[in-house]
């Protein structure tokens, strides 16, 4: 196969993986939400939560940037909120506490927070979606035991075990490489691939844990060649049945609604493989490789170099314009996003004080 590993690696770094400022932004949002829940519960005179558990792509470090054609789409945050068993009431009531606490404190939500079967969901006006699963915990001889509020039941759950299982898969299955693990990169490329085609076709594809588990299942390692590893992972995927349930850490994580979604991902993998397999031809060159990978990821990163240069020049004008600004080497906005909450608050307070003392701070108005 024509070696395009360097380009795939750059693509992963610049357009697929979340940058540190983006991760910092996620952390900031997560913390804001936590404070909202904490204050809201207190104002509602409900019991305080005792612990939180990071879940999902953020915890598993498999979050990806939005696909090129769907830059408005943002990332989801999953954060488990844990009450003591003695404090929690019924599963539905406990979820409603969290919903009411958020509704009380948040101002920029697109819709009111909703109690879903297994979480409280908040969609913010800027596209972020936060899911808050609600747990209760009690201390047992073997440590904390967690139960998830699901519908009208409390069901046994070990939220941290899934993160640990994924971490173990990533470290055990990836070839020895310094830096990062290949499986994690392949999961990210896979999730990006799934999101890209979902946006292109305006259809649902597997996401979240189902996508992660599918790419773990199909992963084929290839030391030093992420391009070949990803192609062979797509091949394994294309050979599975959409009806086979997807498992993670011994639990089935897919359900009936995922069958068609998995089917679409399999079809897309098959179609991309046709293009990528052509790169086995000895006559392959950079141009053909770009074409095949562009077909796979539908991204202008793989456009012809001339166009890319022109784009880069244009991007320089519009990069900050669209506010992407996230892959740029150093930007004040990126530095700001990477601040801790305490640093941010300190700087904000000094900015406000400085304007207040100058007596020049403008008073906003509206019609």
């Amino acid at each position: 196969m024509y070696d395009f590993s360097k380009q795939i690696s750059s693509f992963h770094t610049d357009y697929v993986r979340l940058s540190n400022p983006q991760r910092a932004d996620m952390k900031r949002r997560r913390d804001i939400n936590l404070t909202r829940i904490e204050n809201g519960l207190s104002e509602l005179e409900k019991p305080a939560f005792k612990d939180t558990i990071n879940q999902g792509g953020y915890a598993q470090k498999t979050m990806t940037q939005p696909p090129e054609a769907d830059e408005e789409s943002r990332y989801d945050i999953d954060l488990g909120v844990v009450f003591e068993t003695d404090d929690a009431l019924g599963p539905r009531t406990s979820r409603n506490w969290v919903r009411d606490a958020i509704a009380r404190k948040a101002t920029n939500m697109k819709n009111d927070p909703v109690t879903k079967k297994k979480c409280v969901r908040v969609v913010y006006s800027d596209g972020y979606q936060c899911d808050f699963p609600v747990f209760r915990r009690r201390w047992t001889d073997v440590g904390w035991k967690y139960e998830l509020s699901a519908g009208d039941e409390w069901i046994d759950s070990d939220p941290r075990a899934m993160n640990a299982w994924i971490e173990l898969q990533v470290s055990a299955k990836s070839p020895e490489m310094s830096g990062s693990y290949q499986l994690r990169r392949v999961i990210r490329l896979g999730k990006f691939f799934s999101k890209t085609h979902a946006a292109r076709l305006n259809l649902s594809f597997p996401g979240g844990l189902v996508a992660t588990a599918l790419f773990i299942e199909a992963y084929t390692s290839d030391d030093g060649r992420d391009d070949r590893s990803f192609r062979e992972t797509l091949r394994s995927l294309s050979q599975r049945s959409k009806y086979s349930p997807v498992y993670a850490n011994g639990f089935q994580v897919s359900d009936d609604k995922d069958v068609e979604r998995i089917g679409r991902l399999i079809d897309q993998a098959t179609s991309s493989l046709e293009a990528l397999d052509a790169l086995d031809d000895d006559a392959s060159d950079d141009k053909k490789a770009r074409g095949a990978w562009r077909k796979t990821f539908k991204h202008s990163f793989f456009a012809e170099p001339v166009k890319e240069e022109a784009k880069a020049a244009m991007a320089l004008e519009t990069k900050s314009a669209v506010g992407a600004g996230l892959a740029v080497p150093f930007l004040a906005s990126a530095a700001a996003a990477a601040l801790s909450d305490a640093e941010r608050t300190e700087r904000m307070e000094s900015a406000v004080k400085s304007r207040q003392s100058s007596g020049e701070g403008g008073k906003p108005w509206s019609s």
Partner: protein
């Protein structure tokens, strides 16, 4: 207060002026043109004496009549709810930085730099603060025409009273202020025997063209 004269304040050209100001104060904004307007788009970095701490994605259209014409500002990432309580016009979803004439009079100059570091930055600094505290750090104006009236009355140094503001501005809109007219304070005295000193001082910086403009605005 600053004495404003009707001549354009940016004779060197808006594009050059904003390009230089952006490079100095907000380098993450791109400066382009669209029709007659200069357009700024990108990240507006919010900062203070200790450095940057936040950023908003914005687009600003600077009309050719700047500074007399007010720029139109949009927050484009949807972070600020598009509601009046967050000082966003609900019709077009553009940000309302403040009562424009207040800035015109209070700013030491009406340059692109002063706009970027003054009302534009203050608005997003206020939004950051509001997100954290639900309070406006520098206060805010009432919604609608009352907010404009509040701003004008503050400039005129009177209590918020539409009739008083109108009579003050009508007098200030005249080319010559004569002492025999009735004082706008409604004391029943002639101006020369009442608030002449105040109007002499107001006339120092509020020329008739601005008073007319403000009068038109509150009589709309």
């Amino acid at each position: 207060m600053v004495k404003l004269t009707p001549e354009p304040q940016v004779p060197g050209g808006l594009f050059a002026d904003f390009s230089a100001a952006v490079a100095e104060h907000q380098p993450e904004l791109a400066v382009t043109t669209w029709k007659d307007c200069v357009v700024l788009a990108g990240n507006l970095v919010v900062s203070g004496p200790d450095g940057p701490f936040d950023a908003y994605q914005i687009q600003v259209a600077i009309p050719p009549g700047f500074p007399w014409q007010e720029p139109v500002v949009f927050e484009t990432a949807g972070r600020i709810p598009k509601i009046a309580d967050r000082h966003v016009f609900e019709d077009n979803e553009n940000c309302c930085l403040g009562v424009w004439e207040e800035w015109l009079f209070k700013s030491p100059d009406q340059s692109a730099s002063s706009f970027l570091t003054g009302p534009l930055h203050d608005y997003f600094l206020s939004q950051c603060w509001y997100e954290a505290t639900s309070e406006w750090p520098f206060g805010d104006r009432s919604h609608g025409s009352l907010g404009v009236l509040e701003g004008f009355c503050e400039l005129l140094g009177i209590a918020v009273d539409r009739q008083q503001a109108v009579s003050h501005l009508k007098l200030l809109a005249r080319e010559n202020i004569k002492g025999h007219v009735a004082c706008p304070c409604r004391s029943g005295k002639r101006l020369r025997n009442c608030h002449i000193a105040k109007f002499t001082e107001l006339r120092e910086w509020m020329l008739p063209f601005m008073a007319k403009r403000m009068l038109d605005r509150i009589q709309e």
